[in-house]
């Protein structure tokens, strides 16, 4: 595939608001996880909650879209001047030539959960003002971003659970390649809700404490929330220096089980292989891998086998979910931003909370930050239903020099 230039990017997560705060959190090795006290959830688990979401106010014209998920989207759009820069580029290309591709797993379902608690005792009806289209539906997020930025081009929500906002990069790339659009806003937003908190608990996949990816006694994941956005254009020859490029995207299906990965990570391996192939690179060109690394025993084991099969044990890798938690449908976008920051800063973030790396997992897992010039990094995202995606990012100066 032709390289894409990630011209602007930003994120809002438990790590902080915007690129600078995210980079500072990664540099300091600070975990943003804390015991769950989210809106009445009675669960023994830790979460990564974004501070200040409740205080966000949507623009008056979009007040009907008000919900935690769209507030989190708005919070991220306001960071690093993303919305203003996006509007400048929309003016440059024309609103019909800009696509919007958003990933989410639960959109604004938190509002529906609340509405169900407020059902009419006689009729069972939801309370007045419940906004299905603008809040609950999976497209509500994409519709919100589209209206907030003022685009009129193609738009879609990709909803493949925890790979949703990685796959948006691949979908946007296809539409750019077909010349249906000249630019794309891609990203992902998922916000805390009881559906995912109690759902992962029911599958016994949540850790009682902070998640410890790749630890020998890891015992589950820590759910978090986040929003991440990126502005994509064809790279051409404009990008330079520390500009960030998307060189390849790879997708695959496990065809194995709805909520467990293939034990050998066969699908994960095919997705990584496909990303390398799309970029016309091979395994030794990758300097660092940002793992999916949720911290569940089976996920990490399968991913480690897949990474080892393709890369051996030499490539440094880590999961940043010990710091940020698992932002589910927003994880791909958040970790794309983390990869971009890592490339620019020459920083491989060490995996947090991991006290004793699992020696049976045959990868070079970093437990402390490491500084080194990075040219190309890979980001993994794997979702329920066996929906896998791997993205290969590079610095423009490294991509040019081959």
């Amino acid at each position: 595939m032709d390289a894409l230039w990630i011209r602007h990017f930003t994120a809002a997560s438990a790590l902080g608001l915007g690129c600078e705060a995210t980079r500072a959190a990664l540099q300091s090795g600070r975990s943003a996880l804390a015991p769950c006290s989210f809106q009445g959830a009675q669960l023994r688990t830790w979460v990564g909650e974004v501070a200040g979401v409740d205080a966000v106010r949507l623009p008056a014209a979009l007040a009907d879209y008000d919900c935690r998920n769209n507030r989190l989207a708005q919070l991220a759009l306001s960071q690093d001047g993303f919305a203003e820069l996006a509007r400048e580029r929309i003016a440059r290309w024309g609103a019909r030539r800009v696509g919007v591709f958003m990933g989410t797993s639960t959109s604004g379902v938190r509002e529906t959960e609340i509405a169900y608690r407020q059902r009419d005792t006689q009729t069972g009806a939801l309370p007045p003002g419940f906004e299905y289209r603008r809040v609950h539906n999976a497209f509500a997020l994409t519709d919100y971003v589209r209206r907030a930025l003022g685009t009129l081009g193609p738009a879609v929500t990709i909803c493949t659970a925890c790979s949703s906002s990685a796959k948006v990069f691949a979908a946007a790339q296809r539409m750019l390649a077909a010349d249906l659009i000249d630019a794309a806003v891609v990203g992902g937003v998922d916000s805390l809700c009881l559906t995912t908190l109690y759902g992962f608990q029911s599958l016994q996949l949540t850790a009682p404490g902070p998640c410890r990816p790749f630890d020998r006694s890891r015992d589950g994941l820590s759910i978090s929330e986040a929003a991440g956005f990126a502005w994509l254009e064809r790279a051409g020859d404009q990008s330079e220096g520390s500009d960030i490029l998307l060189l390849g995207a790879g997708e695959s299906s496990d065809a194995h089980h709805m909520s467990s990965p293939h034990p050998e990570g066969a699908g994960a391996r095919r997705a990584m292989q496909a990303a390398l192939q799309a970029a016309q690179l091979d395994a030794r060109d990758v300097d660092y891998i940002n793992l999916h690394g949720t911290g569940t025993p089976s996920n990490d084991a399968a991913e480690a086998r897949a990474v080892h099969a393709l890369f051996g044990s030499a490539v440094p890798c880590s999961s940043t979910k010990g710091a940020s938690g698992h932002a589910l449908g927003a994880a791909g976008a958040l970790e794309a931003v983390i990869c971009a920051l890592a490339l620019q800063a020459g920083l491989m973030p060490g995996g947090l909370n991991t006290r004793e790396p699992d020696e049976s997992l045959p990868v070079h897992y970093l437990t402390a930050n490491q500084r080194a010039p990075l040219a190309r990094v890979l980001s993994n995202s794997f979702g329920f239903g066996g929906a896998n995606c791997a993205l290969l990012f590079a610095r423009a100066d490294a991509a040019r020099s081959g």
Binding site: F130, F139, A155, A171, A177, G199, A255, M258, G383, F384
Partner: protein, 260 residues
Amino acid sequence: MLSAQILGVGVLGPGLSDWQSTAAVLRGEAPYTAAPSVLPPPAALPPAERRRAGRMVRLALGVGAQAVADAGVPAATLTAVFASSSGDGDTCHEICLALAGAEPAISPTRFHNSVHNAAAGYWSIAHGCQAPSTALCALDASFGAGLLEALLQLRCGAEAVLLAAYDVDYPPPLREHRPIPDAFGVALVLGAAPKGGTGLQLAFTQEPASRLSDPALEALRGAIPAARSLPLLQLLSHRLQGCVVLDYLPEQSLQLQLTP
């Protein structure tokens, strides 16, 4: 301009049980008789998964299996695009009901069935399909968004793609806010090679969507987002060269040209 060959079709909906009989109705050779949708059990799934599959999964796998059989291609190699405007309303309702109770709890099966890509996951398991798959939503534009994604997959190297677009009705109280009357699904197997099947070309347009002259079918088209595909299916049923416009996003529609 995006293009493909239509190699196979599957349809399930109110009073519509397969492509052959639906094509006869769309050609006006048989009357349209509305009746509740009948969704077959997903025979291709292993027994454990079959028990867990709800109506949305049965619908998606049902139309997908019809289209693959019609095309005579192996399902295992198809890139798959699953498009649903509203997800699994039954599962969402059950979860929200359980969470509103005094002691919130969710069943594990219900939780993994709640993901929008549940049908894509079950499809890949049923047919051993390891090719890329996606699950998307664009509210009432979901069929158009799915068709676009399927054609883009072909443009970017996939040899053949399964597109399944499907919607199931919500139970109350969500039903009042999303009044989908019944289940409707459509699947197309689309090929890249310019041989076999019916040629399809897609372009954006500002024209309004084509309508169906039969009032009951037109009502179905308007009521269920996946049924926005009906004008395309009608043209396809006549095996004639021609052009239809399908609803997509409010700002633009999709113009589709067929060449048998």
